[in-house]
């Protein structure tokens, strides 16, 4: 982490933690609301999980405060996995 000009506070960590808990509850609720095993259910669960992972990486793993190169690396990895899902989706949707 570079300059520590904006060091995280406990309050900030607690807010992040609370957000993660709320999103977990929403995940459980969404699984009932969408039928549990449908394509929609899986898509919603993955979307919420991605948002949660972003919070963890950005706030708990301090990427927010780190050098731009790390953000670029993570962005590339995210795009890579997105492209895997798109290519897999082409097969699954059209098989």
């Amino acid at each position: 982490m570079s300059k520590h000009s904006h060091s995280p506070s406990y309050k900030y960590d607690l807010i992040t933690f609370a957000a993660l808990m709320i999103l977990t509850i929403i995940t459980i609720w969404a699984s009932y609301a969408t039928g549990g095993t449908s394509v929609l259910a899986v898509s919603v669960a993955m979307l919420i999980a991605t948002i949660k992972a972003t919070f963890v990486v950005r706030n708990f793993m301090h990427i927010k405060y780190d050098h731009i190169i790390y953000k670029v690396f993570i962005g590339i990895v995210m795009l890579l996995f997105l492209s895997f899902i798109v290519l897999l989706g082409i097969d699954y949707a059209l098989r």
Binding site: L80, S83, F84, L87, L88, I90, D91, Y92, L94, R95
Partner: protein
């Protein structure tokens, strides 16, 4: 430079002695040699299994083993050669030894992690070997572990999968180490585009190791979970999807082909300028093509699955992207040839190994284009044509360069010269044997001989006999090379600092290097790593005694 001149002239062999000084060493050069000796051992085991397979296929019908053993032998041959030899080979041996030296530092960024990687490798290897001793023996699924058979086979599939999982961690940690080393420890006078091309190859490779390996790790664990708990992931009888397994497996296993070949291409990019005594043609194009291959390699996995039942649209997309990979690969080949053109070429075994690589890899690459073409692939899929294509790229490619690199850097690693006459003979036999073996397999595959078959029709007999004879010549060549290198390491002429007149940094350190690599400030050119106008200045260093 941060000059790490050390107090003595001791080379890295002499600083400490004893078994523990090796197996718990943090020195990147010693760890590289630990890998070299381990990988060489497994390579010989893999060769022996290949030899047995060729003996079995010498004539139709059973020869030296039963069908079940044959399945286990080709599986074990594949697992050993892929996971224990080719994937770690060049990065773990030559990357570990030469990357820090070539970028002007005294070790990798994370030496303890480096040692841990080797221990993980050994642990994974022992676990793989352990499958021989327990239960129903080693797996018989093929090295690809395709579901649903890998879920139902009564052999030691789970143990072998866990071994591959552990070996994957070793690979990830090595890749991570190289990325951090290249980012953080490059000499201050060495910006990205003055880095040697071998370092570029390792860098591109490291990203694949880091990003693709976890996918196969999880996939293999999913098979273990399915075998152990009956979760229906891949087995259709449990509600699973076997094509999903193939997708997940090849999402890793196609990029990993570039883990195997990109460092090899990096080494060829070192050997050729040194042999031609001129700067490399198209430095930036070669460097960036490594990154382009690494990137594009992530999106072509589906070409392994054209006959799997995947959707037509997906097959077209994967076929199209596959052809794109040929472009950066061809850029490299054209630039190597352009470098040699009108160069002051020194013919050495080093150069001939590299040119043999180019020859083999061209065959491997062009036969790969046929596989990438949807209509043609359907006909050759699951024939020995595919096996031969794969061996042309992996053996004729990576292993040929690995053996060539052993010759090129032999004086630097062991401080002695090898016997060139024997080296030419060994190379000649290996090259001829290799091409007879796999040329015959390409041909018999096109004629329709399926791969992984224990027995075959009489019309395939002649070419199978030719292939088996080729394997004998190949093995004689390899054994001759091993004899030559071992003998030369003990009794060869003492090597100078720069026997091949190279200009990259490893030729500016003593042979073998001292513990901290550099015994004096090194010389770097602003024109890039292959500026041969510096050669005289670099070679003057040899004459001057070190001032203390």
């Amino acid at each position: 430079m941060d000059n790490h001149a050390i107090d003595s002239h001791l080379n890295f062999y002499e600083t400490k002695r004893g078994l523990f000084s090796w197996i718990f060493t943090l020195d990147h050069k010693r760890i590289a040699l630990l890998y070299l000796y381990s990988i060489s051992l497994f390579f010989l085991v893999g060769v022996a299994l290949g030899f047995l397979m060729r003996l079995e296929l010498f004539s139709p019908g059973g020869q030296v083993m039963d069908p079940r053993t044959y399945n286990q032998v080709f599986t074990f041959h594949g697992v050993i050669m892929i996971f224990l030899v080719i994937i770690p080979s060049i990065p773990a041996v030559f990357g570990n030894f030469f990357l820090p030296i070539m970028i002007g530092t005294d070790d990798v960024a994370l030496p303890r992690l480096n040692l841990f990687s080797w221990w993980l490798y050994i642990f994974g290897a022992l676990m793989a070997l352990g499958t021989l001793m327990f239960g129903n023996g080693p797996a018989d699924t093929g090295w690809t572990f395709y579901a649903p058979y890998s879920v139902t086979s009564d052999t030691n599939v789970s143990m072998l999968l866990l071994a591959a999982f552990i070996l994957g961690f070793s690979s990830i940690l090595t890749g991570l180490n190289f990325i951090v080393t290249i980012h953080r420890l490059r000499a201050p006078q060495m910006p990205w585009f003055r880095m040697p091309l071998f370092a570029w190859g390792l860098y591109a490779t490291a990203w694949i190791q880091l990003l693709a390996t976890p996918i196969v790790g999880i996939t293999l664990l999913m098979v273990v979970m399915e075998r152990t708990f009956g979760i229906g992931l891949f087995d259709p009888s449990l509600g699973g999807d076997p094509i999903l397994y193939q997708h997940l497996f090849w999402i890793y296993s196609h990029p990993v082909v570039y883990v195997m070949i990109l460092p090899a291409m990096g080494i060829v990019s070192e050997v050729i300028p040194t042999s031609a005594q001129r700067t490399i043609f198209g430095y930036k194009a070669i460097a960036l093509s490594s990154m382009a291959i690494a990137f594009l390699g992530y999106f072509v996995w589906g070409h392994h699955m054209f006959t799997s039942g995947m959707s037509d649209q997906a097959r077209v997309v994967f076929s199209f992207i596959t052809f794109l990979v040929a472009i950066p690969t061809a850029i490299k080949v054209f630039n190597w040839i352009a470098t040699l053109y009108k160069g002051s070429i020194y013919i050495t075994p080093n150069l001939l190994w590299s040119t043999a690589f180019i020859f083999n890899f061209l065959i491997g690459g062009l036969t790969g284009l046929i596989n990438g073409a949807l209509a043609a692939d359907v006909h050759v899929h699951d024939t020995t044509y595919i096996v031969a294509h794969f061996h042309y790229t992996m053996f004729g490619g990576t292993i040929f360069v690995f053996l060539g690199a052993l010759h090129y850097w032999f004086p630097k690693i062991w401080g002695r010269m090898y016997n060139q006459k024997l080296a030419y003979w060994a190379l000649g036999l290996t090259f001829v044997g290799f091409n007879i073996l796999y040329g015959a397999m390409l041909t018999v595959g096109v004629k329709g001989m399926p791969r992984r078959y224990y027995d075959y029709l009489p019309q395939f007999e002649f070419l199978n006999k030719v292939a088996t004879v080729g394997s004998w010549i190949l093995i004689i060549g390899i054994l001759l090379m091993i004899y030559n290198l071992i003998r030369s390491a003990r009794k060869g002429e003492i090597a100078p600092r720069n026997p091949w007149n190279g200009v990259t940094l490893e030729w500016q350190v003593p042979s073998p290097p001292p513990l901290h690599n550099f015994d004096r400030p090194f010389i770097l050119s602003e024109k890039g790593p292959y500026d041969f106008s510096l050669l005289e200045k670099i070679n003057e260093v040899e004459q001057k005694p070190l001032d203390h």
